[in-house]
């Protein structure tokens, strides 16, 4: 199972940097990220890191509102239309997601799409039934 690190963040100067600083001090590498701002003055920062549990503990120790969230990671080709091909399959599998972000694994060859869904188990089942390959944590976070 793969996880992202979700952080509650006020939209204020320095708050994001405080998070990245804690990660830097703990030797944690960020592979990918998504920052969702709301109109209410706060947002949620989703980070894909090389060591989610370590990141979670480091941040929680510093009093950050942080959670580990299970994600679904899907492989796609790093070519024109690669994302479109994948999304066509995902929509045919009838899976909706709230938030998504990607990262390249091998230039011009492989990339992954991380999706954040309401019901992980249900979505996994649907994707499996549709024959869509889901990646394990090793592939998601990358090799150390």
């Amino acid at each position: 199972m793969a996880y992202e690190v979700s952080i509650f963040l006020e939209n204020k100067i320095g708050h994001f940097e405080r998070i990245t600083h804690i990660l830097k001090e703990n030797n944690i590498n960020i592979r990918s990220m998504a920052l969702n701002n709301t109109s209410n003055g706060w947002g949620i920062l989703d980070l894909l890191v090389n060591s989610p549990e370590k990141a979670y503990n480091a941040l929680a120790d510093k009093g950050v509102s942080v959670a580990l969230r299970e994600i679904i990671a899907l492989e796609m080709k790093d070519v024109t239309g690669g994302l479109d091909d994948l999304l066509l399959k995902v929509s045919k599998a009838n899976v909706n997601f709230d938030n998504a972000y990607g990262r390249i694994i091998q230039e011009n060859k492989a990339a992954i799409l991380v999706i954040d869904v309401q019901d992980v188990e249900d979505s996994k089942k649907k994707l499996q039934e549709a024959g869509i390959q889901m990646l394990d944590d090793k592939n998601v976070y990358g090799i150390e």
Partner: protein, 434 residues
Amino acid sequence: MYWEKNYETLSKNELTDLQIDRFNTTLKYAAQSSFYGNLLQKLGISPGDISDIRQIQDFPFTTKQDLRNNFPYGFLTLPKKELIRLHSSSGTTGNPTVIFHNRHDIDSWANLMARSLYCAGIRETDVFQNICGYGLFTGGLGFQYGIEKLGALSIPAGAGNSLRQIKLMQDYGTTVAHAIPSYLGRLHEVFEMHGLTPQKDTLLRTLVIGAEPHTEEQRKRIEDLFGVKAYNSFGLSEMNGPGVAFECIYQNGLHIWEDAYYVEIVDPDTLQPLPDGEYGELVMTTLNRQAMPLIRYRTRDITRIIPGKCKCGRTHRRIDRITGRTDDMFIIKGCNIFPMQIEGILLKIPEVGSNYLINLETINDVDEMVVSVEVKKEWFKGDIHKLDLLTKQITSMIRDEVLAKPIVKLVEMGSLPQQEGKAVRVLDNRKNGI
């Protein structure tokens, strides 16, 4: 020139005699309530004993807490079948403040209200739009009865829906409107949005503004925006509601109706009476209320008596604008709010911490109450929907409690200043403009 010349222009001696007479009558009623009945016994004072109005200072103060502690009937002097109305504060935390009225009280209140409107130059030929919440809030019905007593055509428009307010003004030729000052900026914006100006497109000539402290600059700005004269209205539900004190056409302080209220200004620390001209807490005694008289009620409002006579010829003294409070109550969107009410709501919500901060801010010309609360770390699961839902839930719970809709801001745990000793819960950054 006067609604009731015989009352409004009484000489000092005549007024004092009337006050003594009315205070003795007030005591007769008060003695029938359990709260004041016990007090009179303790003090050894009987109705009719008062021969010098200064004897009022032998009585202890009555506070909001006394009203709450003796909720609901401890101050009531009459059997329930004689009552015809009650007005009550909002809220579910603790006991509300409730005031009961019999027919005499409602009539007398309506008369004071009509007198107030008359002294601001409003006449039976006017069309009066009351842009104010009806219901338990006294601004709606208080004005309504006064307008009817005066004989003007009343439009009980209620609060909000600016476009409809403008349409009412145009359809029926509104000449006078009553609203809270902070709403009028918003209303003017809507005029502009539709390419209208109050000066050209309405017959509006007078505004009555009250229920919210405001400055002289704010009044001037309202007068300029609407091309009208704006008169300051003062009242509080414990003293009926609106119609306690009102500006006359000279706009130089608010005549406080001394045939209906005995007025003292006291030092908030020593609680000793202060001479005219000095700022202190306004303390009031009802002199013409039967169902629920109050003696030396601490209003918590800070003002002063303006020394000297008014050009209008009324002998009732004038109070100045309210400059502040001696407690932590604040007023926004015309609603009286205590930080404790907000705190009470937040304590019921397990997802947030007990630390909170209320910022009063002017956003797009509208005064807003921004409530910041800390989200508990253990509750955070990274779900944006849940946080949105929580925001909505807190917003509606606070709104139900205080009647004003807040802007709820979720903040990180530990980001609000830690409160030590006397906590600062309210920061007022409102601009003085509207």
